[in-house]
């Protein structure tokens, strides 16, 4: 049976549902192009904020055996510098037919709006809002992703700033009920949901007697994250009726099928690039095609939300 991998996301046509996740290879136009040439259906830039940031000092990432943990520290050139990067990337991705998703973050609601407005001027196809960042206005620095109200406020600020560009809000897994956060941001105008960001964790080296990351804590990605992501995507899919960029622990085409079954519209892939190289992106698309063909499905949409609750 012929399989057609193309799919639709927020009015865009993707040649396949594999999306390069934010923060992986997304720091330059050439790396975004490389990801596209390696077979991604769409690519996401590294999250950019209001000001240039160097990020944390080394070690910033390590493979701890069942996944990766990272605390890169949101190094980025700042919204101003990002615009040139995005425009360059857009121009070079267009002939490949690969849409560009621009990821942004901020420390306050107002900053989200400002960054969104600047980044929107580069004309990305979608703006993704990383809300797993500490709210600097909150006395505990709680991430915006932690509660529905602040997540909704960020969403509104971004929507107001970007005009017609669709917005996907990227949720965090360390909440009691991700479905409620999803409902809040969709009510606030989010056009899509990206689920999920990394899970907070810590890796300790017993011989050193200290955390491996210089930042002590970091975000868990890769294989260990998959069941967490599947559950989050399934919860979000039940709660809202917008497209979902399902992300977390997808290492193979079979994993991609699972997250589609959980309710994702397209599939974010990040850490697989460490395990399999940049070619993972295209390979996972091919494997998904093979899985669909073997199982008798005609396209990714055929399995979307297959496990849905009755």
């Amino acid at each position: 049976m012929g399989v057609d991998l193309t799919c639709e996301l927020l009015g865009l046509r993707l040649r396949n549902p594999i999306v390069l996740a934010s923060g992986i290879l997304g720091t330059s136009a050439s790396l975004l192009v490389r990801a596209a040439e390696s077979g991604a259906g769409a690519v996401t830039s590294k999250s950019c904020g209001p000001r240039p940031r160097d990020g944390h000092s080394n070690p910033v990432a390590v493979d701890w055996g069942h996944g990766v943990i990272n605390a890169i520290g949101l190094s980025n050139p700042g919204a101003g510098g990002e615009v040139a990067l995005l425009m360059d990337a857009r121009a070079r991705l267009a002939p490949l037919g690969v849409p560009l998703i621009a990821s942004i973050f901020g420390g306050t609601i107002a900053e989200y709006g400002e960054v969104a407005q600047i980044v929107a001027s580069a004309g990305p196809d979608i703006i993704e809002v990383n809300i797993s960042c500490p709210n600097v206005a909150d006395e505990f620095g709680t991430p915006f992703a932690a509660d529905g109200r602040s997540a909704a406020e960020v969403t509104e600020a971004v929507k107001a700033a970007v005009g017609p560009i669709p917005v996907s809000v990227k949720l965090a897994p360390n909440v009691p009920a991700i479905s409620r956060i999803a409902a809040s941001v969709v009510e606030a105008g989010a056009d899509a949901i990206t689920a999920i960001n990394t899970m907070p964790g810590m890796v300790i080296d017993a011989d050193a007697g200290r955390p491996v990351l210089s930042n002590r804590v970091g975000g868990i990605s890769g294989p260990a994250l998959k069941p967490i992501a599947l559950r989050c995507v399934a919860d979000v899919a039940r709660a809202v009726d917008v497209p979902i960029i399902g992300t977390g622990g997808v290492m193979s085409g079979r994993d991609a099928a699972e997250i589609l079954m959980a309710g994702a519209t397209v599939v974010g892939v990040g850490t697989a690039v460490w395990y399999r190289g940049v070619t993972a992106l295209g390979e996972i698309a091919v494997e998904l095609e093979q899985f669909l063909g073997r199982a008798g499905y005609g396209d990714p949409a055929a399995i979307r939300g297959l496990i849905a609750y009755p």
């Binding site: 050439s30 080296d205 990040g270 940049v278």
Partner: protein, 242 residues
Amino acid sequence: MHEVFTVVHVRAENYRTKTLILDRSLSAQPGQFVMAWLPGVDEKPLSIAAEAPLALTVVSVGPFSEALHGLGLGASVWVRGPLGHGFTLPDDPLGKRILLVGGGYGVAPLLFLARRARAVGCTVDVCIGARTSADVLLAASFSAVGAMLRITTEDGSAGSQGMVTQAVDEALRAERPYAVYACGPIGMLGAVEHQCKRYGLPHQLSWEAHMRCGMGLCGACEVHGRSAEGWLACHDGPVDRG
């Protein structure tokens, strides 16, 4: 995760360079590197200078390399790797002549390469460049493995006076090698690349970059103008094999 290695021997190579010889082997290709971590200090890339046992040749230039120089026997070094892609020898190496060009700590992985190349029957020419005689690294070791050595120093205090590229020119004119391998400062690499292209010679150059994740994820180590769009030193390199 990092593995902990213990320093079992320290060899002074020159006034600011030491080789740390560790307690175990790490199977690797010449040109590959490790991320070496000193908890509380830093984690940085270091070329694998030898694999059995693992050895790291460190030039003391700043906080991290100084901390490595401060390690005594029995001290711990945390290592993840081998990472990246190293040099590859000719498919049918016996009797083939290769030219190695090194500057700074770049001679360390070349010595590892020279050993491998000699073991499979290559003829090995080496050009080492340095500022003064005191900066020349590992010259005796290259001679010991039977490599033909040309040294240049900027002040002429050892070998011929001049830049290493002059020695390379000489070597290339003397006899055309099968391929050229280089590791060292970016300026030197650029010049060697230019020479190889002019002579139409296959070349494999090891490029430096600021490394963060070392895992091909973060993009920090991208080197522009390499053989592929979005070339990552930690993942595609550090050796660019063209």
